[in-house]
Symmetry: C2
Subunit: 354 residues, 2 copies
């Protein structure tokens, strides 16, 4: 029987609770589809940082590299200064494992409430592919005369052709596999970011013209994209964008698809080890109450299987989540208002796996 080795990183707050439900559904689907998942636990996160002062010990990356994939609960601790764990764990892993794609489906499941008027599941179904290791996230830049009236600080948005290309090529291929209107929209700000924007625009056109003539090319400025996401989300099929713009528009995307309870993300190295996570954070105030929504974790498990090549199993998870929502039995996506406990939602979705 085929088997995969998965590193589990439950992390902080409600992370462990949602991850358990993700694993529950993964196991249900694995047994139906005839493969096996072996898990190993890693305790990286706020608690460990407070005890040991370390975010990711030196050998951790090597350890994690031995797995087929990483499944993460949440990182973030109320007693740790904001930024430390995010940079020390999440961003560090993206860089160290070269997870250069961030994949964020923005999909409205049935009965999920969106804050947008007159929009249903038929309108909100697109995917954002965010470049995940370059741009202004590289840490290039610095500051001088800090704390004086002359302080000057910089951050450098930097892209090279190969880094742009590998992201665009992934995005074109992803668009080809999707069954919507075969349109890849580049989101950037090329009218102001003349150097970096121009690099993206040219590469988008050249690669599309040469290798993906079946895919329509489109372009939006990032400011305009936030408007269209709210006014006409049905317009989008796949969006590809740079790191910072992707960070911003995927949060907006999470909101229009019903919020953090359902938003799943993948940090993907197509040739290496990827990491999947519900993007909602550790939600300290709901911790330990069995009331947090595990659907985002369950959906990220599905994305993990898709990336591992288990497409049918991935589809089964997506279908089960869809059916769970369509049943009307889950009253809301908000913690404490689901009409079910965290465990019950996991059981329910697992029971719907076909």
């Amino acid at each position: 029987m085929k088997s995969y080795n998965i590193a589990l990183m439950p992390g902080d707050g409600t992370g462990p609770e949602v991850l358990v439900e993700g694993v529950k559904v993964l196991d249900a689907v694995a047994s139906k589809f005839g493969f096996k998942l072996n898990y190993e636990n890693y305790d990286f996160g706020g608690e460990r940082y407070m005890k040991t002062g370390e975010c990711l010990p030196d050998n951790a990356v090597d350890e994690l590299k031995k797995h087929d994939s990483i499944f993460l609960g949440a990182i973030g601790h109320p007693d740790v200064k904001p930024g430390i764990l995010e940079l020390g764990i999440l961003l560090k892993l993206r860089f160290a494992l070269d997870q250069y794609i961030n994949l964020r489906p923005v999909k409205l499941y049935p009965n999920v409430e969106t804050p947008l008027k007159d929009k249903g599941p038929e309108h909100i179904d697109f995917t954002v592919i965010r470049e995940n290791t370059g741009g202004i996230y590289t840490g290039m830049g610095g500051a001088a005369m800090v704390g004086t009236p002359n302080e000057v600080a910089t951050q450098v948005m930097v892209y090279t052709r190969p880094v742009v290309e590998r992201c665009l090529r992934y995005a074109y291929e992803y668009t080809r596999k999707r069954n919507k209107n075969k349109t890849l929209t580049l989101v950037h700000k090329c009218n102001v970011l003349t150097h970096v924007g121009d690099l993206w625009v040219r590469a988008h056109k050249e690669i599309g013209d040469a290798e993906f003539q079946d895919i329509k090319q489109d372009y939006n400025h990032v400011d305009a994209a936030t408007m269209w996401m709210v006014k006409s989300p049905e317009f989008y099929d796949v969006i590809v964008t740079s790191n910072l713009f992707g960070d911003i528009i995927t949060d907006l995307g999470a909101m229009i698809q019903g919020g953090m309870g359902i938003a799943a993300g993948g940090n993907i190295n197509p040739e290496g080890v990827s990491m999947f996570e519900p993007i909602g954070g550790s939600a300290p105030k709901y911790t330990g109450k069995n009331i947090i929504n595990p659907l985002a974790a369950i959906c990220s498990g599905g994305m993990m299987l898709e990336t591992l090549g288990e497409d049918a199993a991935a589809k089964a998870i997506d279908q089960a989540v869809n059916d769970a929502m369509a049943s009307g039995k889950i009253k809301s996506l908000s913690a404490g208002k689901m009409g079910m406990s965290t465990t019950e939602v996991g059981d329910f979705v697992a029971s719907l796996i076909k």
Copy 2:
């Protein structure tokens, strides 16, 4: 009688049509409140660029500096390569006239349709103050080996303490003058942009603690801010943010307040010459049909008067726009669907000036 010299830049497309209505309402209010507006016309824009090859001739900035304010219709021409006019006119004026504040009220007038569920005028009423000359808009950066597989491109986000300070101080003062919950929310991305973000965060706190103890300080990451603007816009009073983030979130703001038909902006140099504009662009396909919505231009005229110190007159314009919408006679904000022509909307608002 007090008088002001206004440079009119009708610009391209529907710019001239909306500007005429803006001027109509300005004149109505001027005669009620006892001041005079003298206008001088400038033909900068796409047509002139295509004839002469120049965006802003060398002496134009000096000419414009002699006025009390600039009132702009729209810049953008279908036959001119995107970027040229924006950089050559709009951004050039911001830099040359040191218009370091971009002021964008996000206000839902009565009967205006917002794409958000369950939100009315009582929920959507905040102002974004965008730093308007610095950051990643400075043009710092460059590219090497362009067009080769080794191409590398950079854009530098750069801020100095004085540039951050003058923007924050303006924002604090603006918050003090507004009558909401006296909260100034800094929007940035300090967990990733560690140098520039840190500069903004420290300056926001230090200036607030020292000089504006009556103002509550708040902070949102830019990604989260796009979520809250959609989910809980009522939460915001004044947002202050850097140039690029401001560009993005003000477009989202325009959408939730009902779209480009009503979105007004000011490019302000508090000690110099400011420029006011409807932010919607030149809308070539509606040009010359007398169907474009002039309300955004009318509102920008109001902002201009406020900045010139004519507060009562500015309030009268805001009230007239409010009353025009409250009357229910304007059916929609979209071009061609207003149930009135461009001219009639201008006449109607002018008639409501009290």
